[in-house]
């Protein structure tokens, strides 16, 4: 199966980065991120998302509800279209399960399908999993600080640690200084070739915070293809505990 360029899906991971940016200067980026990370362990959220996917052969829009707890747990349930309604994905740590309502079965995704695209999008199952280890896997440094496109920004350079099990050579993230909003994230291979770009936009207040409600991932080798995530609703601190993220709940309709 060809890899579909994936993107970061779960919001919480981006939070430490740009929250940390705001506190840079006194502590190193790393220390800050550690602190924030610990803070976020208990952070729960619930969201209603629309995902539009355009590929060479088809175009699709899915609506789904996403619950998350910290960076380790997430449950996604598809609401529309009718054909896929009820399909759900559960992630706990490194493991991913799919629930297929049509046959009423749960499937644990084996490694060979981890790089397969999730729901046909440019995300991969692996992206869901790798999420939580982003901080452990990369060294973060400020690559640029200054003005870009009329706004003051930081550009963070994420370089994989020597033995991190990640395929990227480098990730660069541009964050706005004023409101700590991410602007884009670019993924490069080790030769410095850009492979995919994640762009953010439509910044709005939701659940009491300013968030980018639109995320778009674009593969470089197929410029006409794109996956776009739009947050319709987003709530934080919804009082979820780890037991919520269970196989039983995966199957609940």
């Amino acid at each position: 199966m060809r890899l579909r360029s994936g993107a970061v899906i779960v919001l919480p991971v981006l939070l430490p980065l740009w929250l940390a940016a705001g506190l840079a200067g006194q502590e190193t980026a790393r220390e800050i991120i550690d602190r924030v990370d610990r803070m976020l362990q208990g952070e729960s959220s619930e969201a209603l998302l629309a995902m539009e996917i355009r590929t060479e052969h088809w175009t699709r829009t899915l609506e789904m509800r996403v619950w998350s707890l910290g960076t380790e747990r997430a449950l996604v349930r598809v609401i529309s279209p009718q054909k896929d309604a009820g399909m759900a994905t559960l992630k706990v740590g490194n493991e991913v399960w799919n629930y297929l309502p049509r046959v009423d079965r749960t499937l644990k995704i084996p490694p060979s399908l981890m790089m397969g695209s999730w729901m046909g999008s440019h995300f991969t199952n692996d992206d869901l999993v790798k999420e939580s280890r982003m901080i452990d896997d990369y060294d973060i440094e400020i690559g640029y600080e200054g003005d870009r496109d009329g706004a003051a920004v930081w550009e963070f350079d994420l370089t994989p640690k020597p033995e991190a099990a990640v395929v990227w050579g480098k990730i660069v993230e541009r964050i706005r200084k004023s409101d700590l909003m991410p602007v884009w994230a670019k993924y490069y291979d080790e030769d410095g070739v850009l492979v995919r770009t994640l762009t953010f936009g439509d910044y709005r207040r939701m659940g009491g915070r300013l968030v980018p409600t639109r995320m778009r991932v674009q593969p470089e080798d197929k410029p006409d293809e794109v996956t776009q995530l739009t947050y319709r609703e987003l709530k934080f601190d919804v009082g979820l505990d780890p037991e919520f993220f269970s196989l039983r709940n995966l199957r609940a309709r």
Binding site: M1, K83, L100, R102, R105, K108, P110, S117, M119, G120
Partner: protein, 417 residues
């Protein structure tokens, strides 16, 4: 004049009847051996080609030109619009030499049973048509082939082991569909097959083509491959060319014979052809020795006789001619005897190939798929070549003795020196 010499040669032969018979027998047996060994090799090769192509791949395959080598699921014959599958199959079947054709669809996916999940290559077939093209569906070791219209699946033995299922079990089949969704459905295992080839037994699962179309969300009329069976595997390449020509551009087809997608088989065939040559050579070298031996002794014994003939006025050439004529007649007798021995034997063994499964031990192969049999395939080339070789042997063996016989001075021979 010439006729006399033939009669004399004939009589000479029968004066030493036993010797003639035994020598002719040796040559005849050489003929039998050569025909048999060549037929055996050809039979083994044919068996190999047949099992190599008749198990699952067919002798000719047709695809959309963009399908190979990466096999993208969208590259169906006729592009996104597809084709009128029945019409295409009928058109292909009307090409001379084609026995049957069957459409196929492929998709990579997951099979899941209870708590085991395995990746597999799903192959969608028209069970009735496919059974006329390849043998896999008729050779289930357990159960039977999937039925059209049902959600049934046949899997390889190694796959069945890993999933720990047998006929009647339920499998979840999941595959990414062409519209981006995840095709998924429940299938019942209808049968298990064992080809002995791990590639097939571990990774292949067969379903009815319509069921796979549903999973892949493809429109009817979209197929990836037409697998074709021909009556003569050796004509596959030329028939493939004909099919390609007849299809023209509607739809554009890439048609390939088995020599292209099973090049190792083609290599083996060439090797066998070469070794046939060597075998015939060896057999007749042996025969030459036996025959030359006899003839040399014979001419030696007859030197008085030749001396008398020389004394009566014959030239040395006449002696040579006598011996050679004898050789020719001997060859003819040997050929007749050889043919008489060979024909019934070959006929019998064609109908009852030697079954080696006893000697090959517990090696079980699925049904009629890969049989450890020794089969003899005889066409016109083998016996013809052997016949020619036989005459050459007879003549060749006689040349030296003839020359020697002609060189003995008559006076010495008569004097007993």
């Amino acid at each position: 004049m010439a006729a006399v010499w033939w009669r004399i040669a004939w009589r000479n032969l029968w004066r030493h009847g036993r010797r003639t018979v035994i020598t002719a027998l040796a040559l005849a047996f050489g003929f039998l051996a050569a025909v048999f060994m060549v037929g055996l090799t050809d039979g083994i090769i044919a068996e190999m080609v047949e099992t190599g192509t008749a198990v699952i791949s067919g002798q000719i395959q047709a695809h959309d030109p963009g399908y190979l080598p990466d096999r993208p699921v969208y590259a169906t014959i006729g592009g996104d619009a597809g084709v009128d599958v029945s019409a295409l199959v009928t058109r292909i079947e009307s090409v001379p030499g084609v026995v049957a054709a069957a459409p196929r669809l492929y998709g990579g996916g997951l099979l899941s049973a209870a708590d085991q999940t395995q990746g597999a290559m799903l192959m969608g077939v028209d069970p009735e048509r496919d059974a006329r093209v390849v043998q896999l569906l008729s050779s289930m070791t357990e159960g039977r082939a999937p039925q059209a219209g049902a959600n049934e699946i046949a899997i390889g033995s190694d796959l069945a082991h890993r999933l720990d299922v047998g006929p009647g079990a339920e499998l979840v089949v999941v595959t990414p569909a062409s519209d981006g969704s995840l095709g998924n459905d429940l299938f019942t295992v209808s049968g298990v097959f064992h080809t002995g080839s791990t590639g097939l037994d571990l990774t292949t699962a067969i379903v009815p083509i319509d069921a796979l179309r549903g999973l892949l969300a493809l429109e009817p009329g979209r197929v990836h491959e037409i697998a074709i069976r021909v009556s003569d595997p050796w004509a596959a390449d030329s028939i493939a060319a004909t099919i390609r020509a007849r299809a023209g551009d509607d739809p554009p087809l890439a048609v390939a014979g088995w020599t292209e997608y099973r090049p190792e088989l083609a290599e083996y065939v060439r090797l066998a052809g070469a070794s046939n040559f060597i075998i015939v050579g060896i057999v007749f070298i042996m025969a030459i020795f036996g025959v030359a031996n006899t003839m040399l002794m014979g001419t030696y014994e007859r030197r008085r006789e030749f001396a008398v003939v020389r004394a009566l006025g014959s030239s040395p050439g006449g002696i040579i001619r006598t011996v050679l004529f004898e050789a020719v007649i001997l060859g003819a007798i040997a050929l007749l005897a050889g043919a008489a021995m060979t024909a019934p034997l070959v006929a019998w063994i064609s109908r009852h190939p030697i079954d080696l499964s006893r000697f090959v031990g517990d090696f079980s192969m699925a049904g009629a798929l890969v049989r450890p049999v020794l089969r003899v395939d005889v066409d016109l080339a083998g016996p013809l070549t052997s016949a020619v070789a036989l005459f050459l042997t007879a003549l060749g063996a006689a040349v030296y003795p003839a020359l020697r016989a002609s060189r003995v001075p008559p006076a010495d021979a008569l004097a007993g020196r």
